[in-house]
């Protein structure tokens, strides 16, 4: 399973260590264009196993765009073009051989706004295993749904109403349902795009606890607006600014002792 880290191109501006020992994702010289707009400019970064990587930066800095590259969700956006190398376990995800359906089964994603399907709670979680043929029979499917809901910390709240529509849950519950839905496919990486921005503080705290638990099994990459959240949940932090990856490093160090001027300005609240 171990894959050699890709060599880092010379002439990069990023401050800090972009490489890690055993990367799941290894991204080199990634550029993204929306039509004429250069949204991501030559980003190099590795994502480690069983760790949370937080991506922070001011609005429009490209952190969500970068996140969406990792499971090729940018494919669905008209006029978006991705260049460079993004390797999942040593294999480029933009290669012809790479199937996007398969990729997304390995790299799950949780969105900013909870988006449960207009189906029952059970069906929401069962959907992924169903389409990918992960359960041989009804019993297995039940097991998967059951354990996914448990791991998402939702089981106790919904076990008596699995047949009710997913939209009948509260916002925080819906987001945990979406997380349960994602882990039901047994992915290797979970991408989270500001998963708490639509939630209240209590629901946010629950999700943050959940992220911390999930770290034991998955590589997690989270985009967040809140520096406190990044500090609470992540082990590594990457700071993006106008499409550039300015600094990346261990979370404690970034927040206590940023090395780049831009990072420092952002963290000390000069802009945001």
């Amino acid at each position: 399973m171990s894959s050699a880290a890709l060599p880092v191109p010379q002439g990069i501006k990023t401050v800090g260590t972009v490489t890690v020992a055993e990367p799941v994702f290894s991204c080199r010289d990634v550029n993204v264009y929306y039509g004429d707009k250069h949204a991501i400019k030559g980003v190099n970064i590795d994502i480690a196993r069983k760790q949370v990587l937080a991506m922070i930066g001011p609005s429009g800095c490209g952190k969500s765009t970068f996140l969406r590259c990792l499971n090729r969700m940018n494919d669905t956006i008209l006029g978006a073009r991705v260049e460079g190398q993004i390797a999942l376990e040593g294999q480029d995800i933009h290669e012809k051989r790479q199937d996007v359906v398969q990729l997304r089964a390995r790299v799950g994603m949780v969105f900013q706004k909870p988006n449960p399907f207009p189906k029952s709670i059970y069906e929401n979680v069962a959907y992924g295993p169903r389409i990918h043929g992960l359960a041989a029979d009804r019993g297995e499917l039940d097991d998967i749904v059951n354990s996914s809901l448990r791991r998402a910390g939702l089981w106790e709240e919904v076990k008596d109403r699995l047949n009710q529509p997913g939209t009948s849950l509260s916002g925080g519950q819906q987001q945990r349902l979406c997380i349960a839905r994602t882990i039901a496919v047994n992915p290797e990486v979970i991408l989270m795009d500001e998963p708490c921005s639509a939630l209240d503080p209590i629901a946010t705290a629950r999700i943050e606890d959940l992220i911390d638990e999930l770290r034991e099994s998955y590589a997690i990459c989270i985009v967040t607006h809140s520096m406190q959240q990044a500090a609470r949940v992540s082990q590594r932090t990457a700071y993006f600014h106008l499409g550039d990856l300015v600094e990346v490093g261990e979370t404690d160090k970034i927040f206590t002792n940023p090395r780049a001027k831009l990072t420092e300005d952002y963290i000390t609240g000069r802009f945001g």
Partner: protein
């Protein structure tokens, strides 16, 4: 369907599905891929087939109509030297207008044709020869003589109308090789026609009469002017009534109406009315306007009233959408200046919403122009030769004319029907294009 595995049972064992490695999961996903991509392709193919068949229908529909109808813009005429014989048209020699109007001009045309074929003799043969000519061929001569009596006794070369069967032969719509009794022209007649054609005196010319004549029993004489005038008069009434009323209703509902039961009822009502079959509006027109108010049947006035009620929901809905698109900030600005609600609407909201409302009105009018079922109910479906002069005159409408002609057996009328459809579609095209241009020109994004 749900939790068959209850909590206790589930905690007891750790099923294999839950402890799968990433590689195992990946292998499972891969196994299903081929089947899923085949389903994907199938699904996409259904979509393409649907779009394709829709496009084919459009092309087929317009193709057949154009193919059948485009020839209507030309009409066969024969060039003859006419002698305005005073013996025939003015035996008394008094140039009395009444006599000149009622005189029979057909012999003049017939004699002129006879002169070209001196060898034809016998009652049967001459009758066959005369049947090359339209029975309306002499109408043009009558009009000329009445306008200028000095022509009497003179000779003049005129292009006169020929029969629709000859016209169809010239346009290649009749199979020359069919057995004689399956054709409407005899071999003899075909020979005469070929002779005339070879001499260059029988040919297709621009068909003016199609645009200047009313209805007729003879295809070669029938035109759309009467129906078109009827349609325009009807539309005029519709526009004059439905636009102000529709805009008024929309303004009330959008800007003034309190949120209460009555307003709800009106709203639901308008939406439902928009989906009521048009023929029901015809029943309303028949029972109320004609039966109750005693208005004349077949009049564009009644047609206009019925179509007003029919298009009103469309216009109200479009106008409300246009009003909704005006941002509330403009209303607040006007109210903040101390304008009354009516001044706010009149000075600021209406001018901004007007292009949208006009677009809606044009689209409503286009719908009204194509509508025929309610007009059948109120009697605008008669055989009317005269072009209507006012909104009380009996008349028909263009789509109804299409309906009437499509019922007639003559080949010539198939062509006329398609021609009338082409005219109708052209009008609709212009109206819809205007609406689109208007919308694109004035559409503001706030």
């Amino acid at each position: 369907m749900n939790n068959t595995s209850d909590t206790a049972h589930n905690e007891a064992r750790e099923p294999a599905v839950l402890s799968r490695s990433a590689a195992e999961t990946q292998a499972l996903v891969e196994r299903s891929l081929r089947r899923r991509y085949r389903a994907e392709q199938r699904f996409q193919a259904y979509g393409m087939a649907a779009v394709l068949s829709g496009v084919v229908f459009v092309i087929f529909l317009f193709g057949t109509i154009l193919l059948q109808g485009i020839s209507v813009f030309q009409q066969s005429y024969v060039k003859l030297e006419i002698f305005y014989d005073p013996e025939v048209i003015d035996p008394t020699g008094e140039r009395d207008p009444d006599v000149l109007v009622t005189a029979n001009y057909q012999p003049l045309v017939r004699d002129a044709l006879r002169e070209r074929f001196p060898e034809v003799s016998g009652r049967r043969a001459t009758r066959e020869l005369y049947r090359i000519l339209s029975s309306a061929a002499s109408l043009d001569l009558q009009q000329r003589v009445v306008a200028n009596p000095l022509l009497i006794g003179q000779r003049e070369t005129r292009w006169v109308l020929v029969d629709d069967n000859v016209d169809m032969l010239l346009k290649g719509k009749v199979d020359r090789d069919a057995p004689e009794d399956a054709r409407r022209l005899s071999d003899e007649q075909v020979a005469w026609i070929d002779e005339l054609e070879a001499a260059g005196v029988l040919k297709l010319r621009f068909n003016r009469s199609f645009f200047s004549n009313g209805d007729s029993r003879d295809p070669e004489q029938a035109g759309v002017r009467g129906a078109l005038t009827g349609s325009l008069l009807t539309l005029l009434i519709t526009l004059l009534l439905s636009f102000p009323i529709g805009v008024g209703a929309a303004v009330y509902l959008e800007e003034f109406a309190p949120r209460n039961r009555l307003t709800d009822i009106i709203e639901v009502n308008i939406n439902n009315l928009a989906a009521v079959p048009s023929i029901v509006f015809g029943l309303l027109g028949l029972a109320v306007f004609i039966g109750f108010f005693g208005m004349p049947r077949s009049a564009p006035l009644v047609g206009g009233l019925v179509l007003t009620l029919l298009t009103l929901p469309t216009i109200i809905i479009a106008s409300r959408a246009a009003l909704k698109a005006v941002p509330p900030s403009i209303r607040e600005a006007a109210l903040g200046m101390g304008a009354s609600r009516l001044q706010m609407v009149g000075h600021h909201v209406l001018p901004l919403a007007l292009p949208g409302m006009l677009t809606g009105a044009i689209i409503g009018m286009a719908r009204a122009l194509g509508e025929s079922a309610p007009l059948l109910m109120i009697g605008m479906v008669a055989f009317i030769v005269d072009v209507p002069q006012g909104v009380m005159d009996p008349s028909t409408a263009l789509p109804v004319q299409v309906f009437l002609w499509s019922d007639l057996p003559e080949r010539g009328f198939v062509e006329r029907t398609s021609g009338a459809i082409i005219v109708l579609l052209l009008f609709l095209l212009v109206m819809n294009a205007t609406a689109v241009v208007l919308r694109n020109k004035f559409e503001k994004r706030w």
